[in-house]
């Protein structure tokens, strides 16, 4: 099955390929060095900015002042005694719920797109995809009015709805791609055995689709976690506000506490990184692999 094209599968062949190269060419030291130097440069460029901010978050004024270099927890203490923990909890609740909801809804929709033939299907599928292409900034005012009329501003429900909506187009698109790689014979066999359509989706397809679901959900989570525009307009009470808003509020008009900004940046970034670490092998196995048969 193409699904299982894990990073490991290609390895043995490539390694032997490498060994052959090693023995074949004497005096080839230059090339490995070049590769390692390139790798090092890339890793440095990717990671250094985050290290810079991590280190700064443990210094007064974020270490931006040359003379303030002593280690301190003060930034984190300021941050959390100012109620930043609340933002973290809000973000977690809203993003986890929206991710779960959008993935659920998207799996269902993707299944239909991938397995059924019906009138207007191309148009509907195209419209769903078009959701990704619309400039969100013009949605803010109309949506604000809609949510207020429904009583959903300043509520988890309203925000979960928004984030579910922004994640669906991409999720449907990705999952449809993955589903195309799941053989239909699997469904058909189960149907012949007397399973209902719903059972086929939940008992047969869902487990097989898991890698795709994980990738998709991770992406959806990232999208929600970093979203700023809607959260700014729809959440005005600290009890429900999310991390990006909390972070942004640290910039006062007349001053900004740069140490706290750095600490907040670290707090905003770490959870996603922790989430990715155990999944990284799976993630790289195909954020778009499913999209390309």
């Amino acid at each position: 099955m193409t699904l299982a094209s894990s990073p490991v599968s290609g390895k043995p062949a490539a390694t032997s390929h490498w060994h052959r190269r090693m023995v074949s060419g004497p005096g080839r030291l230059f090339e490995p060095l070049l590769i390692l130097a390139g790798l090092l440069a890339i890793l440095f460029a990717l990671v250094y900015p985050m290290v810079f901010i991590l280190v700064g978050s443990f210094k007064a004024q974020g270490g931006l002042l040359a003379s303030a270099t002593a280690f301190t927890w003060a930034n984190y203490i300021t941050l959390f005694s100012g109620g930043f923990g609340r933002f973290l909890v809000n973000s977690l609740v809203i993003c986890v719920a929206a991710t779960a909801l959008s993935t659920l809804v998207s799996v269902n929709a993707a299944y239909v797109f991938s397995r059924f033939r019906f009138r207007g299907k191309g148009l509907i599928f195209g419209s769903v995809l078009f959701g990704q292409m619309f400039p969100w900034i013009v949605l803010v005012n109309p949506l604000f009015i809609l949510l207020t009329q429904a009583g959903f501003t300043n509520s988890y429900t309203g925000m979960i709805f928004c984030y579910t909506a922004i994640s669906i187009p991409f999720s449907v698109y990705m999952l449809t791609g993955y589903l195309a790689t799941v053989p239909r014979e699997l469904d058909e066999a189960a149907l012949i055995d007397g399973a209902s359509r719903y059972q086929v989706v939940w008992r047969i397809v869902f487990p097989v689709l898991m890698p795709g679901i994980v990738s998709t959900a991770t992406y959806a989570f990232m999208l929600c976690w970093t979203e700023y525009l809607f959260a700014l307009a729809f959440l005005t009470k600290p009890a429900v506000q999310t991390l990006p808003i909390g972070l942004y509020q640290l910039f006062g008009d007349d001053r900004a506490d740069w140490g706290a900004v750095m600490a907040a940046s670290v707090i905003t970034t770490i959870p996603t990184l922790l989430l990715f670490l155990p999944l990284q092998a799976r993630l790289s196995a195909g954020l778009t692999a499913g999209a390309v048969k």
């Binding site: 062949a13 419209s127 669906i168 940046s265 990184l273 954020l287 390309v292």
Partner: protein
Amino acid sequence: MRGDRLFITVMLGPALIILALFYLWPMVENLRVSFTDLTLLRLRVGGQWIGLANYEEFLTSPETGRLMMNTFIWLTAISVAVRLLLGLAIALIVNTPLVRHLKLATIARIAILVPWATPPVVAIIIWRWLLEAPDGALNTVLVTLGIIDTPIAFLSDLRTVWPSVIAIVVWNTVPLIALSLLASLQAVPADLYEAAELDGASRSAKFWHITLPFLKPTMVVLGLTSVFWTFNNFVYVWLATGAGPGTFTNVLATEIYIRSFVDFRLGYGAAIGIVMALIMAVFGYFYFRMIGRRQIEEVL
């Protein structure tokens, strides 16, 4: 067949209802507003119908040419191209036998995740510090190494401002590309290379005739997806340069923001939004023809 119809409705219904509420209704509302002179101050009472005046003003404005150029060429085309090339380079390096042999690939993959896990707002804050003149990290390094004599104000010098913005966008978004290409690279069947080696193919020949064709579909998907994520993006330009110096880095999304929330002209902002959506619709049509449809065509 009846059962199927019910099944389709139940499965598809929730997604479509959510999307209709979130996109369709505001979009229709937006279309209506774009034909009025609605302002934020008159949001309560509503605007007057002024027909196509907003569109006419936008399309005949002397600024529009630069906005299009900035949005299409700088923000979108160049940044997506750089992203793809750099992503490819990273994937190729991490995938070299040497790196895998030394068990560095996992470390590399984790490092690649770092920029991706960084929210754009945070990424921009960090990069503004790094690019600062005279004593931001980059200037310090360049001056120390003797590459430049005097520090460069990266985000305000006309010669460097676009490359700097693109650097920030690329840093933040290249991981997705690199990881996806890495996955594709690892899926290239090893026997293809072995067969080519038996035929005495050179390394560059193998790259051009085996690796690249194999990666092409993934690159096309990634490229096109990146295009519309970037085209509509407001945060990078707005927070990095505020569309300045002057109006030098103004793009369509920031123009909408300025018109709607600085000038309060919601009607005019809505009209620009509709123009953007139309451009994306044309683009989306080809996107769908090339990729989207392939996913569902088996049963079309």
